[in-house]
């Protein structure tokens, strides 16, 4: 049985845990404010909030998700909020007023998704500034307004929230008419809900579900799925010495929010912002990204360049460790046997001498799949590269760790000539195909450009675009 609180109502249901949360709220609960736009997490019309009780049971943290690719099972023990759950009696909330006052709703179909996402922003811990408000609605597509009015609404809401630097207390949010008052009692009510359903091993394993529900929803919606993303053993980021271990169920947002990792990777958020949308980042896990084995998986490329290891556990609990770069065999084929589960990712943290960069280009900069993506991790000893790892996606049948290019760079002095020669090797290591994300010629050229871009980004004083243009 799945138990949770939906808006202000306690739900107990025996429906299949693989059913989408969207179908449950719309067709089982007749909460039709949550709209169906694409059923693949790409439009945000079905955005809902998921509230999770913190460890001491006093506080709830809310995140936005796209309910169309979220299994109902993921709601277990949570507070799920749809647009109806944000409504006040006979009055509009701050987010709703902001949208209305600024003409930010036209046909209205995407509007509830924006309202919910903006309400999630108000409930979140982030600073209430314009940029963060936009991040909150980064997964919401509107085809009518051209977004300028929605930007104006975001400004108004930030003003209502007094540009607060941190989380705003629930009482304040209730008093400011951002959320209804029943939110106050949710922590207690959630505590009271017994989290009785333990994951069962014979069920279909799903991490966040953000890809498998796009590809194979019809195979899942009448099935019981085992939401391993919510298994606490698979969650969490640990730093011991110079090694970082992350559970495979860790989401991109967990990484985004991790203070220490943001210090190790000063551009982490800039890079992660290129990875889907906030709604998806809140669900998408590394395990899912790795075993999806897409040749273009952003996080796979990211962690390939960190020369990560992965720990795989079999049904008996035995573990084995392999390098991520050895995990992929051929297109969508990887080294995971029946009953095995990708459990942990481990990598060595960047040092003062090392430099990391991630690049991605697609038709649309945000919430799009890359034409080519690439990551690089270089360890420098003065002006010599002592260790190099370069990875590139979208240019080969698997996410490509560029063995030869990386090897070539190692032990050499970093010069323009070296980079140009390395590119020649890189071009031999890739064999992109023409598809909807670009022609093979384009991907080759883009591969070169992103490789160059690593160096202009990491060594701006030493290398500029023009030097490459002159030589290439």
């Amino acid at each position: 049985m799945i138990q949770f609180i939906l808006n202000n109502k306690t739900i107990k249901t025996d429906l299949p845990s693989g059913m989408t949360l969207l179908d449950f709220v719309r067709y089982e609960q007749r909460l039709t404010g949550t709209k169906i736009g694409c059923r693949e997490g790409d439009c945000g019309a079905c955005t809902t909030l998921v509230g999770t009780l913190n460890e001491d049971g006093t506080e709830i943290s809310y995140q936005s998700i796209t309910s169309c690719i979220s299994p109902l099972g993921n709601a277990n023990g949570k507070h799920i909020v749809t647009v109806e759950g944000t409504n006040l009696q006979e009055k509009l909330t701050a987010a709703q007023n902001a949208m209305k006052d600024n003409y930010a709703t036209q046909c209205g179909f995407c509007t509830p998704g924006f309202v919910v996402a903006l309400t999630g922003f108000a409930l979140s811990k982030v600073e209430k500034n314009f940029d963060n408000a936009l991040d909150a609605i980064s997964g919401n597509i509107c085809r009518c307004t051209g977004y300028k009015s929605i930007e104006r609404a975001a400004h108004q809401l930030c003003g209502n929230l007094e540009y607060s630097k941190s989380a705003i207390a629930l009482d304040t949010l209730i008093q400011k008419e951002v959320i209804p008052s029943y939110f106050k009692d949710i922590p207690k009510r959630l505590q009271a809900i017994q989290k009785e359903s333990k994951p069962q091993k014979n069920k279909k394993a799903v991490y966040g579900g953000t890809d498998i529900y796009v590809q194979k929803a019809d195979n899942l919606i009448d099935a019981d799925v085992y939401n391993i993303g919510f298994n606490p053993d698979l969650k969490g980021i640990k730093i011991e010495g110079e090694v970082c271990s992350m559970g495979a169920g860790t989401t991109v947002t967990d990484l985004w929010n991790h203070g220490e990792l943001n210090r190790y990777f000063p551009n982490l958020r800039k890079h992660l912002k290129l990875v889907s949308s906030e709604q998806i980042r809140n669900m998408a896990s590394f395990g899912g990204n790795f075993v999806n084995a897409s040749p273009i998986g952003d996080m796979t490329i990211f962690f390939l360049a960190l020369n990560s290891d992965i720990i795989i556990q079999n049904q008996d609990g035995n573990e084995r460790t392999i390098a991520l770069k050895d995990f992929y065999k051929s297109y969508k084929t990887f080294d995971l046997k029946e009953g095995e589960l990708l459990k942990t990712i481990q990598f060595k943290l960047p040092t003062k001498q090392s430099k990391f960069n991630f690049e991605k280009v697609c038709k649309r900069t945000h919430l799009d799949i890359a034409s080519v993506n690439s990551a690089i991790h270089l360890t420098m000893e003065n002006d010599t590269i002592s260790e190099a790892h370069v990875a590139m996606g979208g240019v080969y049948e698997i996410p490509r760790y560029l063995h030869k290019t990386s090897e070539f760079l190692e032990g050499k002095k970093l010069t323009m000539e070296l980079i140009l020669k390395a590119n020649d090797i890189l071009q031999d290591e890739i064999s992109p195909i023409s598809d909807v994300r670009g022609s093979s010629e384009y991907k080759r050229l883009l591969g070169r450009q992103l490789f160059f871009a690593h160096f202009t980004e990491l060594f701006p004083k030493q290398f500029q675009l023009n030097d490459f243009v002159a030589h290439a």
Partner: protein, 774 residues
Amino acid sequence: MHKNTSHNALDILKNEVESSLKKSVKNIDSYTHVRGESLYVDDVNVRQGTFFGVVFDSTIAHGKIKSVDYSKAAQLEGVIRIFTYKDIPGSNEIGGIIADEPLFAEDEVHFSGMPIALIVAESEFIARKARRLIDIEFEELIVITMAKDAKEKGSLINKPRTFKLGEPDNAFKNCEYIFEGETFSNGQEHLYIEAQGAYAEPLENGNIKITSSTQGPTAVQATTARILGFPMHKIEVDVTRLGGGFGGKEDQATPWAVMAALATFHLKQSVKLVLNRHDDLRMTGKRHPYESSYKIGLSKDLKILAYEAEFLQNAGAAADLSPAVAERTLFHATNSYFVPNVKATVYSCKTHLPPNTAFRGFGGPQGMFVIESAIAHAAKEIGVSPIKIQETNLLHENDEFLYGQIATKVEAKNSWDSAKTIFDLKSLEKEVEAFNKYNKAFKKGLALMPITFGISFTNTQMNHARALVHIYLDGSVGISTAAVEMGQGVNTKMLQIAAQVFSIDKNKVKIESTNTTRVANTSPSAASSTADLNGKATLKACKALLKRLKEVAAMELKSSVEQIELKDQFVYVNSKKSEMTWEQLIAHTMAKRVALTENAHYATPEIHFDKTKEKGHPFAYHVYGTAITIVTVDCMRGTYIFDDVKVVHDYGKSMSEGIDLGQCEGGLVQGIGWMTMEEIAFNDQGSLLSNALSTYKVPDIFSIPRNIEILPLETKGNDMAILKSKAVGEPPLMYGIGAYFAIQNAVKAFNPNYQLKFHAPMTPEKVLMGLYEN
């Protein structure tokens, strides 16, 4: 006031705009929209025992159906019945303009995604499961995906049409410069966020009620009647609102409604048919791709003396609205320019793509892209700025359009000059130049885009509408029109009209759903004309009621009708407030047995068009404007960001500033999307590759211009427009064309070897390839 170039003047103007926005009426649906309480087709309460439909469609683009085996699907538990063309009691024909399109394929399929059968089951999930159990065998035939191939093979929808002005053949002889070239503009997916759908319910006596997400309720009604062999009065179509239309639901909402009705007819049960996104993308047509060629001739002083264009419209597998779209391409072939000698020809080419259809701009943008390309080409070769050529050839008062209409109340030059002065074009150009001089890794590009867009259905006979206005005995008002609300705010405008005429509070007025039993024989909500046509009808009805109310008031207050005025919900006599409230007046009127209901009909005056001569006066008026677009291209990565789009737009006298600004911004961004990231891709077998939102990208909040400024052009307005408030739905989309040329100018600034190309959209791929071509 537009003469002053100082920033102060611009600030004052901006402040004026801002304060008028604050006062402006909000969309009347906003309250329920933001609360998630607005109802769309899929939100309608379903009756007990409702069944759900899923369409089984062709997986190939052209071929003969050798065999179909439905047996496994039919046997699946929960499947009610599978309907094919054999179940159609009337005629298997849905073509709106030309009868060339079946509802369900019979022996042949003509596009990938063409409906073959409707599976009806207890749930959508079961129906989808059943769909995977259908075995079908085809004999594949040759597939045409490009218009040029179709033309060469003689595969046309109808005869080509040519508009001609002056003597282009002779005129080219007098030209100092002549340039020829080819262009391509791709299709565009509507991507209304609410997919197509309908819900059909059986009523007594075999009548059927359809709730449809359609821009054309009458088309749904008439086509359902034709398919079922029913008289039209047995079919009632009701539309509350659409979750976006953009033309995609003008004709192409019809098949799904008809299918649901067909199943309801047979099963005597309610049937819901809402397409899932992938089905919608695969089965429905889009904006027409155009393959075109041009020849432009200029004098030494840059006057365009002659222009020839041949437009090859990729119509897809059936006519749909293609002939009308093609016609509008010709109407807008010279955009905002006066060209004395023009020959423009369009071929509607029949291919094996899904039948392409209406999309905001309706062929106009495709026509404009070609002449803008020709101008850019000429400018490059002559070595002048395209802005110079654009400016030299702007339309003036009393110039003749290539279709014979004489241009009056022209604002082309006015909007151009206003944009130049208000936004200080010279400084902008200097800034771009300076930026490009000092930056290597990034380059900026700037382009201007003037627009002139004709308002009216080009098919004259469609320019009419009706409004039914009831005043209820408590003084509340209910209005029915043919207008379909799809986010454009037309209901708000209807409400404003009634509230203004009666001088009553807006919340006393309700706009009813659009329903074929209340307002019949309607034109679709399209051609930017919905507010004009229905608004004028509403105005007429309200004024007729007002006249009767005043007569009653004059009788009651013992004065004359001329002395009576209704103001702020009171009757005024000789400008003095009387004791009589609006409600009391209504009660008196009722008591006197005077009709409180009025039905008015409006047909646009003056317009006409003779297709045998291809001349006439097809448009009630034109909408004008000018946009300045500035873009920054990342020359390392081939990506781009729009810094600014600055527009002076001719709203006339806007009656709803906030709503109209929303139309402008939304249209502009949709136009930019068409020109930049939105790339429809079919393989050469006619299968859609951009078949999901993961592969077809529309603008998101991060990809729009950093700064959009849209300022109103000061004009006297036009009486043909409702309350002088001009149509605003389509014209702004064409400002987006400037995006293409701005990017290309930036690419040119980086790579001197770059050869101009006119092949939209300008994706990051094309930009990067252009930056590094030799």
